[in-house]
Subunit: 445 residues, 2 copies
C-alpha cells in the first residue's frame, strides 16, 4: 500500500476562489506519508506503480453564458438562418438573458456580413461577439461591421496544425498579438482560443495562454473541438491553465462522447468563467453544450444556484426558443431533451407515481413550473400500482374502498398485459368498481 501527501500549489488568481463549507475537520500529518512536489496539482502517479491520485481545488462556479446558436448552430448540418431567423433568435436569447450572443465571421458571405451589422445594431443587452480566424483581415472586417467582441481561434493540436494552417507556435502567438493590439486600440473585447485544446501539447498551451494573458487579451478560450476530453482531464487542464493567466477563461465543448454538460461544470469548477452553449446543442456533428441542459445542471447545483438561475434568466423563454430553432433547423426536439423534452417530467412506474403524487421532489430535482412546462403522471399501464390508482380515484372524486381500488388496479394491469391502455380505460375501471358514478374526464392524469 502506498501513501503520499501533496500540497495545493500557489494560485495566481486566489481572489476567484471562494469557499463552500464542506468540512471542519482537524488536520494532522501521518508519519508514513510520502511527499509530493509543490507543483503537484492534477494527475499524479504513485510510487510503486499500483495507483495514482488526483488533487484539485474546486471553486464555486462563476459563469456567463456565450450562446453560439447563430455561429456554431449555423454550422449544423441543416441550418440556414435567414436574416429574420437571426433577429428572432437573437431577441429571444436576449429575452432569456444570455450574456453574449456569438455570430458568424462576416467574411462567410455577403449576407452574413450584413446580418452581423443588423444583429449588432438591435440594441440588445447581450454583447455581440463574432467568431473569426486569427488574422487581421477577419478581425478588421468584423470590427468594421460594428462587432464589439472578437472571438479569434487558431488550431494548436498536431493534427490540426498540420491539416489546417501550418503555423508554428511563435507564428501563432505573433498573429494573435497583432490582432489583440488592433482590438485593444479600438476598445474591442478580444478572446483567443486554441482550437482542439485537449489534443494540443500542454506546454504549447501554457506558453500561448500565459503570453497572451500577460499581453492583455481579455479572455482565453479552451475548446474541446472534437468532444474527446474526459471529465478529469478537463478539470486538470483548466486548472493548470488557470494558474498561469489572469484573464477570463472561456470553455467550448462538443458532445461526441456525451460529456459536454458535465465537462462544462468541471471547467467552471477549475476556474473557467464563460461557457459556450447553443439552443438544443446544435453545431458541428452532434453538437455542443445545450443551453437548456446547462441551465438544468446549474439550477440543480445547489439551492443558491437554483435561486440565482431563476433570478438571472427568464427560463420560460427556453421552450419557445427551442421550438423556433428546431423549426429553423428542420429537426424535432428530441423526446428526451433536457427539461423540455416531452418525457422529461413523465412518471410511469407505480412506486414513482405514488411518491410524486404525494411530493414531486421525490423523483424530480427541477420544478417544471419554473421552466413553464408540465408534469405527466402515467397511471394506465401494467406497471401501475394500486396506490397510484387510488390517487386517481381521489382525483375523480370517487370514494372507493381499498379492495375496490385494488380490484380496478388488477383489472387494468391484466388488460394492459395484452395491449396499450389509456387513462380513459383506467377511469372506466374505477367507475365500474365504484358503482357507475360519473367520471370527469377533463381531469389531468
Amino acid at each position: 500500500m502506498h501513501r503520499f501527501r501533496s500540497i495545493v500549489p500557489r494560485l495566481s488568481r486566489s481572489s476567484r476562489f471562494r469557499a463552500l463549507p464542506i468540512s471542519t475537520r482537524q488536520f494532522s500529518i501521518p508519519s508514513n506519508a510520502v511527499p509530493l512536489p509543490e507543483d503537484s496539482s492534477g494527475l499524479l502517479c504513485a510510487r510503486g506503480g499500483d495507483l495514482y491520485h488526483v488533487e484539485f481545488e474546486i471553486i464555486e462556479p462563476v459563469f456567463k453564458i456565450i450562446d453560439t446558436t447563430l455561429r456554431e448552430g449555423e454550422q449544423f448540418a441543416t441550418t440556414f438562418f435567414t436574416t429574420e431567423d437571426k433577429r428572432v433568435i437573437a431577441q429571444m436569447l436576449d429575452d432569456l438573458g444570455v450574456e453574449y450572443i456569438e455570430v458568424m465571421n462576416p467574411l462567410a458571405s455577403a449576407q452574413t456580413a450584413k446580418d452581423c451589422e443588423i444583429i449588432s445594431s438591435m440594441g440588445l443587452k447581450a454583447k455581440i461577439a463574432s467568431h473569426v480566424r486569427c488574422n487581421m483581415v477577419d478581425v478588421k472586417e468584423a470590427i468594421n461591421r460594428g462587432i464589439t467582441v472578437i472571438h479569434m481561434y487558431m488550431a494548436t493540436s498536431p493534427a490540426l496544425k498540420k491539416f489546417s494552417h501550418g503555423k508554428n507556435l511563435r507564428e501563432i502567438i505573433e498573429a494573435a498579438k497583432e490582432a489583440i493590439t488592433y482590438c485593444k486600440e479600438r476598445n474591442v473585447e478580444v478572446r483567443f482560443s486554441c482550437e482542439d485544446t485537449f489534443r494540443s501539447d500542454l506546454a504549447d498551451l501554457l506558453e500561448i495562454y500565459s503570453t497572451l494573458s500577460e499581453f492583455g487579451v481579455d479572455r482565453i478560450g479552451l475548446a474541446d473541438t472534437v468532444g474527446v476530453a474526459s471529465p478529469l482531464q478537463v478539470l486538470d487542464t483548466v486548472r493548470r491553465i488557470a494558474r498561469v493567466v489572469t484573464c477570463e477563461i472561456g470553455y467550448h465543448t462538443h458532445n461526441d462522447t456525451g460529456c459536454c454538460i458535465a465537462n462544462a461544470l468541471l471547467a467552471l469548477q477549475g476556474g473557467v468563467t464563460h461557457i459556450d452553449t447553443s439552443v438544443l446543442g446544435i453545431g458541428e456533428r452532434n453538437g455542443i453544450t445545450p443551453l437548456g441542459g446547462f441551465l438544468a445542471r446549474m439550477y440543480t447545483y445547489n439551492a443558491g444556484y437554483k435561486s440565482m438561475i431563476i433570478e438571472r434568466y427568464n427560463l420560460r423563454v427556453l421552450k419557445p426558443l427551442e421550438e423556433y430553432v428546431s423549426h429553423c433547423a428542420g429537426v424535432d426536439i428530441p423526446f428526451n431533451n433536457y427539461v423540455t423534452g416531452w418525457s422529461a417530467f413523465t412518471h410511469k412506474a407505480g412506486v414513482h407515481s405514488k411518491a410524486v403524487l404525494q411530493n414531486p421532489s421525490s423523483y424530480e430535482v427541477i420544478c417544471p413550473d419554473d421552466f413553464g412546462v408540465s408534469r405527466d403522471i402515467k397511471l394506465a399501464h401494467r406497471l401501475t400500482g394500486w396506490n397510484a390508482v387510488g390517487e386517481r380515484s381521489t382525483q375523480l372524486g370517487l370514494d372507493l374502498s381499498e379492495s375496490s381500488i385494488k380490484e380496478a388496479a388488477k383489472f387494468i394491469k391484466t388488460l394492459a398485459d395484452t395491449k396499450k391502455v389509456d387513462l380513459e380505460m383506467l377511469d372506466k375501471a374505477l367507475q365500474n368498481v365504484g358503482g357507475g358514478r360519473p367520471v370527469n374526464y377533463g381531469i389531468q392524469g
Copy 2:
C-alpha cells in the same frame, strides 16, 4: 493564500487499483504546507475559508454493462414491449455483447412473469437479472421464474424513506440480509441498491453497504435515481463507499441534468465495476445512461480502451438495435444521438470539411466504420470554403485551376445566401467553370 497537504487514505481494495503512467516527477515537501487528516480523501475544506480541494485516486476503469432496456426502458412513458419485442431486444443485446440483461419484477403482471421465464430460458451468454423490491415475496417469485441474478432496491433518501416504504436503517439492513441469505443458499447472484443514493445520508450508506458487503452480497448498487449528482460528488461518494466494501459495485444514473455518461465514467474511475445502460437511454423521465453514448465514451478513453471495446462488443449491432427499440417505444432516434444520430458524422464548415477530407481524425475521434455508420461532408452552403470545393472537383474528376475553383466557390456562397443549395448545384457550378465536362452525380459528397 492557504496551502495544505494531504495523504491518500488506506484502501481496502488495493488489488483493483491499477497504474496509468502519468508522471515520474520527484517529490519534496514545501515548508509552509498545511497538513490534512489521514481520512482526507474527497472534498476537503481549506483552513481560512477561501478555498478547498479534492483529492482522489483514479483507477483504470474495469467495467461490465448491465443493460436495463427491458426494465428501466419499460418504465419509459410510451413503451409496451410484447413478448416478441423482449425476445428480439434480448437477443440483439446478447449479440452486441452486454454482460447482463435486466428484466422486470415478475410480479408487475402475469405476462411479465411469463416473459421472465422466456428470456431466462433463451440460453443467452448474458446473465439475466430481475429488478425487484427488497422483500421475500418479490425475490422468491423471481427465482421461481428461473432468474439467476437478483437486483434488489430500497430507498434510503429522506424524501423517499418518508414517501415510499417508511422503514428505518436497521429494518432496511435486516430485510436485505434475509433476501441475500435466501439468494446465496440458492447460488443466485444478488445486488442490493440504495435508491436515490446521492440524496441519502452518507453515514447511512456506509453502514448499509459495508454491513451487506461483509454479509456476502455479490454487488452493491449506487443509484442516482433523480439525476442530480454532480460529477465530483459521484467520484467522491463512490470512492468513500469503495473503501468500505469488498464486493462489486454497480452504478445507475438518470440524465435529468445531462451528466449521466460523464458520471458513469467518473464512477468507474472511483471504483465502480458495473454500469447500467439502456438502448437510447430510455427510462423514467428523460432516461438513463445510453448504451451507445457509454460505448462512445469508453471507446475514446484511450487507444487501449478503443481496442478493447472493438474486441469485446459487436458495435455494428448498435444501430439496428436502436432502430428496433425506437420503433417499439414509438420515438424517433434524436438527430444528435451519439454515434448513430444522422448528424453525428456530418461536417459542414469549410475549415472542417477541408481537414476531414485530408484526414478524418482532424475532427473525428470515433471511426464511423467501427459502428457501421457513415460520414457526410456537406459542401454546398454559404459556409463552404474553396479548399473543400476543390476537393469536390477532384472527386468529380475535374482538372480545374485554383481561380476556377474559387470562382465556383464564390458562386455557390452567393447563391446560398439567398436559399438552401444542394450538392447538385455545387457540381453544376464546378462543371460550368470547368467548361461543361460531364459530372458523375453518383459520387458521395
